[in-house]
Amino acid sequence: MTATESAAVAPPVPGDDREAARARVHRQRRSDLVAAFVAMIVTIVIALAIGFVILLIVGKDAVAAYEWLLTGPFSRTTRIGRVLIDTTTLTILGLSVAIPFRAGLMSLGAEGQLYMGALTAAVVGLAFPLPPGLGILVPALAAMVAGAIVGFVPGWMKAQFGANELVSSLMLNTVLVRIYGYILTEYLTEEGSTSVASAYLPNESLIPTFTQLTGVSFDQANLAVVLVPILAVAVWLILQRTSLGYEVRMTGSNRLFAAYGGISSRRVIILSFIISGAIAGIAGAHLVQGVNGRALLTLSVGTGFTGIMIAILARNNPIVIPFAAFFYSYLKIGGDVMEQELSVGTEIVNVILALIVLLVTSQFVMSLVKRRRLSRLEAKGQP
């Protein structure tokens, strides 16, 4: 899952001059990219087709359902807004897990980190009245710190004891979500409140929404959208242009080789978990300061796992993650519209997406394409 960058490249034939060899490498890389892109499209089409057949089997109007699924998000501005909200949250979560994934570490702790980030943003935003600007920044930074701290725990357990990070991060999720619920119910919910939720944050701590800015209702979509490209590029820079990123990628592609090359996997594990936690914390801040304006008991069920799906779909490529997140959010809102209009369960969207993930990880389409290309080469008489 980590070997995205270096596709198989034919060794230069002796006697060839360097320029030609380089050109061939580039050509090969370009055609690999095209093949990957085509494979992705074919994969999506296959998954959508399977979903279509499932709808037919259970006796639903599949054509009408797909019409709403694919056009629904654009039917109202509020729906466009909800696509933007989910794209933001899921991009942040996908980017957060991409770093440990690149290092070959299965961190499933984004959910807990998101809740802790949300809690911290709410507490800091409510406790310290701050001037505009700082009012947005300080709670968000605090959320990052909180996410980093809880992200550190499974990383440290892995580095120190070799504890399986998948299980420990999962267990920690449940613990943190319950602690969040406890603190919210006991300390942040005001007397006489009808629902379990904190008070609204002061205006200085809220991220301006597009509805306020444009006068058109975009639900709660807000300026945090700008974080999508910024964070994507930042994570790309960390992975591709820093020595830590180099160590992360080396550890992910060959742990033993990295260790013999003098890379401290202890440092890689702990740092990648900390950075991952910090990024997931921002997602919590986005939900509190941007979307809900306060801390709610249920932030969004299973977003952590959805973020993981996004990262897998994008093959841990930080530049692709925003597109995968948009794709998911678009289908999800489309699914909600479909359910409202036709009472076809929106969960079919999750089925379709899970199918895409399974097809992508098994390289189902890619292996077919490769096989065809090989047989064509053989037909031409080339090796």
Binding site: V175, R178, I312, L358
Partner: protein
């Protein structure tokens, strides 16, 4: 007051009941892990089994057909994992995440499509596999009210525990499973069909997790409820690691989680903040996981190597030595 509650026969009976699905799923997962296939689809297999069991049992009115459907429903997930991992070489963990999401979405979708109710299959009425009546033995303390009168699958779970322990220790099949888990190449050289055994392992694993699901929807409660596994598959997974991948240890780890879960239910009734009490099993797992890994690391550092090769070795260099 708490101590009275803890040693009441009601509480001990509850421990056995709560531990049943954990024990079944953990034994399934143990077989898969032993054979070298990391399996996080326990959650999905369990949910699939719970849904298939409740639907088939509910529509036919026969809980035994429901049980068969549950086993098949769980096994299908195992087969899917096997095909994608063994034939297509996909990462088993990522396939597991995908399958879990697939099942979570598909069960809710299918229940909603068939019954028009998203929350579960309660509209099909109560549908339960039988409990064993204690009969004339009911009056005997402990035996009568803790061990007897349990759900039939609770006894199955303990039988499975014993069977898996025997299988892995004595049977050729079990020894071969261990061999391919430790060194698939060497096992293949010795003439063991690695792929076929790994298929067998994931199918057995799925079936047992499906049985655990049948217990949830046709024993623990009387219908399928959306996302009713609620992380039990992952607790079972933790039990496998905590129990050191040995049947005896894994079984006791599952019982321990059952104890903590029953405790949290019990304490929740006693005006202790329920959210904090609910964290007990998970914190126990975290601590146990850390302790277990720490013990393994120190043992390996001493160079005894007594535990043998683990399937997923600790990161080289993670070792501070």
């Amino acid at each position: 007051m708490i101590w009275d509650a803890l040693f009441s026969t009601l509480f001990l009976a509850a421990v056995l009941r709560v531990a049943t699905p954990l024990l079944l799923a953990a034994m399934g997962g143990l077989i898969s892990e032993t054979a070298g296939v990391p399996n996080i689809t326990l959650e999905g297999s369990m949910l699939s089994g719970a849904c298939a069991g409740a639907l088939v049992g509910g529509f036919t009115g026969n809980p035994w057909l429901g049980l068969i459907a549950a086993i098949v429903g769980g096994a299908i997930i195992g087969i899917l994992l096997g095909v994608l991992h063994l034939e297509f070489g996909a990462d088993p963990i990522i396939v597991g995440i995908g399958l879990n999401l697939l099942v979570a979405g598909f069960t809710t979708f299918i229940v909603f499509s068939l019954l028009g109710d998203k929350s579960g299959t309660s509209s099909l009425g109560r549908n339960l596999l039988p409990t064993i009546e204690p009969g004339p033995l009911a009056g005997i303390p402990f035996l009568g009210d803790v061990l007897l009168g349990q759900h039939i699958l609770t006894y199955v779970a303990f039988l499975v525990w014993a069977a898996v322990a025997l299988l892995l220790a004595r049977a050729t099949f079990g020894v071969h499973l261990r061999a391919i888990g430790q060194n698939p190449l060497a096992a293949a050289t010795a003439g063991i069909s690695v792929k076929r055994l790994q298929y067998a392992a994931v199918i057995i694993c799925g079936s047992l997790a499906g049985t655990a699901g049948a217990f949830l929807s046709m024993g623990y409660v009387s219908s399928f409820i959306r996302d009713m596994t609620a992380g039990r598959g992952f607790i079972a997974l933790a039990a496998i690691f905590l129990g050191g991948m040995r049947p005896l240890g894994v079984g006791f780890a599952a019982l321990a989680f059952g104890f903590f879960e029953a405790l949290s239910i019990r304490l929740g009734n006693l005006d202790v903040p329920s959210q904090l009490v609910q964290t007990i099993p998970y914190i126990a797992t975290l601590i146990g996981l850390g302790l277990f890994a720490w013990r393994e690391t120190t043992r390996r550092r001493r160079g005894s190597g007594a535990t043998g090769q683990r399937r997923r070795p600790v990161t080289p260099g993670a070792d501070p030595a």
